[in-house]
């Protein structure tokens, strides 16, 4: 199970935080900070897996992360998930963002926070992988966009 999905930039500013296990808000913030410090000190091109921080359960959990330009994508998972599978899932998620935003960048995550959440919801649900087929995910998002547009037209 995926416990949490954390996206933050190179300065540790959170850009997307989603917990699938309930933590008090204060602890959520601490987990983000702790995770940031854990991955920040790691060079690029080394292993993408490391043991989870103490707050999220220590060695029973793994942090699986990828670093893209200015952003870190970190999935905190328990032992029931395949490390390489999750690594590919991050890639699927990012590629989908890229498709939906046309060259996604950090600002897209800030200004379209709701959209990013909706895309994530098509990939992960309640901590479990919902869909891995990018075409299917993009089709769902496009259907949402059509619905939204039709509603906007109704208002106008």
């Amino acid at each position: 199970m995926i416990q949490a999905i954390l996206v933050f930039n190179n300065h540790g500013k959170p850009r997307l935080v989603r917990f699938y296990q309930h933590f008090p808000e204060e602890i959520q913030q601490q987990i983000v900070r702790e995770t940031f410090h854990l991955v920040l000190k790691r060079d690029d091109n080394i292993c993408n897996f490391l043991e989870g921080g103490s707050l999220i359960g220590g060695s029973d959990y793994k942090l699986i992360y990828r670093h893209y330009a200015t952003l870190y994508f970190v999935f905190c998972v328990d032992s029931s998930e395949s490390e390489l599978g999750i690594l590919d899932l991050i890639q699927v998620f990012v590629e989908t963002l890229d498709k939906c935003f046309e060259n996604v960048c950090e600002l897209d995550l800030i200004f379209h926070m709701d959209k990013v959440h909706y895309i994530l919801q098509e990939v992960v649900m309640g901590g479990m992988v919902l869909e891995t087929n990018m075409n299917e995910i993009v089709a769902q998002i496009e259907a949402q966009n059509r619905l939204e547009k039709s509603e906007v037209r109704q208002v106008l």
Binding site: C47, S82, G85, F111, V152
Partner: protein
Amino acid sequence: NKNSCVEAGIRGICVGRCKSKEAEIKRINKELANIRSKFKGDKALDGYSKKKYVCKLLFIFLLGHDIDFGHMEAVNLLSSNRYTEKQIGYLFISVLVNSNSELIRLINNAIKNDLASRNPTFMGLALHCIANVGSREMAEAFAGEVPKILVAGDTMDSVKQSAALCLLRLYRTSPDLVPMGDWTSRVVHLLNDQHLGVVTAATSLITTLAQKNPEEFKTSVSLAVSRLSRIVTSASTDLQDYTYYFVPAPWLSVKLLRLLQCYPPPEDPAVRGRLTECLETILNKAQEPPKSKKVQHSNAKNAVLFEAISLIIHHDSEPNLLVRACNQLGQFLQHRETNLRYLALESMCTLASSEFSHEAVKTHIDTVINALKTERDVSVRQRAVDLLYAMCDRSNAQQIVAEMLSYLETADYSIREEIVLKVAILAEKYAVDYAWYVDTILNLIRIAGDYVSEEVWYRVIQIVINRDDVQGYAAKTVFEALQAPACHENLVKVGGYILGEFGNLIAGDPRSSPLVQFNLLHSKFHLCSVPTRALLLSTYIKFVNLFPEVKPTIQDVLRGDSQLRNADVELQQRAVEYLRLSTVASTDILATVLEEMPPFPERESSILAKLKKKKGPSTVTDLEDTKRERSVDVNGGPEPAPASASSTPSPSADLLGLGAAPAAPTGPPPSSGGGLLVDVFSDSASAAAPLAPGSEDNFRAFPKHPRISAGGSEFVCKNNGVLFENQLLQIGLKSEFRQNLGRMFIFYGNKTSTQFLNFTPTPVPRCGLDSLTRTHLNLQTKPVDPTVDGGAQVQQVVNIECVSDFTEAPVLNIQFRYGGTFQNVSVQLPITLNKFFQPTEMSSQDFFQRWKQLSNPQQEVQNIFKAKHPMDTEITKAKIIGFGSALLEEVDPNPANFVGAGIIHTKTSQTGCLLRLEPNLQAQMYRLTLRTSKETVSQRLCELLSQQF
């Protein structure tokens, strides 16, 4: 464009605009106040504005600020009929979960409506919300409804997917609320669904359900195998969208392989064969050239491969597949991709515990050691440490411990403590040579003293105290280690404790004379913390006992203001009490109070477990093994012995053994290392006793005559019988003993028809080296008639008094003339120390209490030996009673063992003796342990009794 208004709102509060944390907080508080006033304002907000403000709140929350309002507006939004409003409302509720029960009632109501709406989009949103929040209230409300949606024939694929994961979440939160029922069999059949997304979600659900209800879901095994088989054997284009970088449905394959790990290998040979085929295909594909250079391709392919290997390891039944898996992981150990090296190390750890592959894993030891030295990444090095630990056994323990120690010098701080523990455990578990163990632990302290926890240094002290063969070495080694100008405080503790106990063992060397030892320890004193200084004070008072010559020096130190008037009450009290003790107590009292620490109690249970595990007939090497394994086990398993930990609050507090008495062990603590000691002593004993039974010397006088009776050892456990017989003479015995006195009737029978002339039998006490100064036995007898007629018998009475304990039996010299020749016979008289035994009955509790009191290494003697006679319980009992001790029934927790107790009476002293005999029928061996308050008594009794079995 309205969407850009949301964007603008967020842009307004974007951190990028704020120069400092304070400015950001100020800006956000302003924004929060603004939103709050909008929500509370008289003017009803339209859906769009609500959406905008809720979205802002989510962003503010993301930045780490508490949001304590807006929930009601979110509930209004999710109750709306407009999709976009409903969507943001649900999102807010999912991210900012709130436990307000009124709110939850409203939310549940809205969810119920959406689930019933038959609008797949709305149903999806509602299911997402349940799955993301996953609270018990939601489980109560929807655990009945969700399974119905999942298995309904007309549910759309995307809703089925969501329903499966939603149900999984509810089951995780509240398994009691999810009723098993008709739907379970239909869920299993979702594994055959056309839509691979549905199959993936269903596989996740079934995996979790099957872990708790394996019987209910066991039909999923064959379905999962056939699904997996279809995926694995498909061409990469067959599955279209679910093919990821040329790998067909990797996520689903991984999930199916996980599901199969909930079950043992399939029983149906057809299913089993098909699964083996799948696993072989996956292993074969790993050897094919990659279809793409992209890392995604290799990741997806290897994700499946690693999961297949996990399943092979889980089944642990096909040696062929296990070896292939091990070879594959071996290849990955050298792969250029760090991730693969990491995962290979991790998988190998589990493989190392399989008996089929443990040896195969061990062949990679050099690669793993190399990884420890060269990997740039700490998480990979950590896995290498784990694997070395897992692959360690007796054959490679020294190498692995050495490598771990050398890695420790540069290891990351985050994993040092773990490595220290692992080294300590391995060093103890596989110690053959305890000098090596002591060296290893001292190295640990030197290299990573800060990470050496109390348990580790307590343990080394326990082991040194319990093993007398290593005490001298330990004293010498700590003494040398303390020479370093800067040594870790933990080393000072270990050094202080060990020198306080065993400093005398190295005091003969002028380079480590008592004063040198003391000055060395005292030079560290002022740099140490209070607990360490307290420990050192105890060491000093122990020195007062061990080395009277340094007493004045130590008294001066104790008398100093910095001790007697120390601000710390513990130090002050110790200084006052120790100073007083050293002044008023006599040497004897000092020696008693400051006696060497008794061995730490050990856990009996692990020893028994080990013995049970031992199989097969005994050989000499087995004996070595037995000894080694026992001694390893005697010193506890991996974790520190709980008994000693609980009964000994800390060595420093209990250094004098004055603390609370340790709790009674469940069984008498077996000796550690006693075996070797006894071997040494028994060798020297037989060398010093040329008259040992059966030796040539007994019959010096009759070189021409065949020996008839060996005499001797059979009299240890009985008092009457024929002592000696040849063609001329028969000697019979009848004796009785009471306390330290005895009377022996010796009957000399002339077997010939001719007279013996000048017949003079003389019993002579033979003693050891100190016989010149001390008499151990007094023998008084009257001369007999010098003429013994043919066929006649004469009697001689010998009165015996035992003065002190002795080793060597007296000798009966007989001289007479027979025919024309002068005859001379020497026979050992069977007067042995055990004849002065008085049996003592005692209860189990008393026995163990005394056993514990007699726990100094010198007081205990142990012998492990092969049975010379059939191992018969009744005969053994009779022998122990004949030996003179009481046979204590129902005292030993193990009914197969024999324990006895008694008192050896001599004129000068009475010595309490406890004995324990542990037969090992499988190995045809015995272990005999003697504990008495006198070392020489323990030794002699052990020798005597050992010959009897």
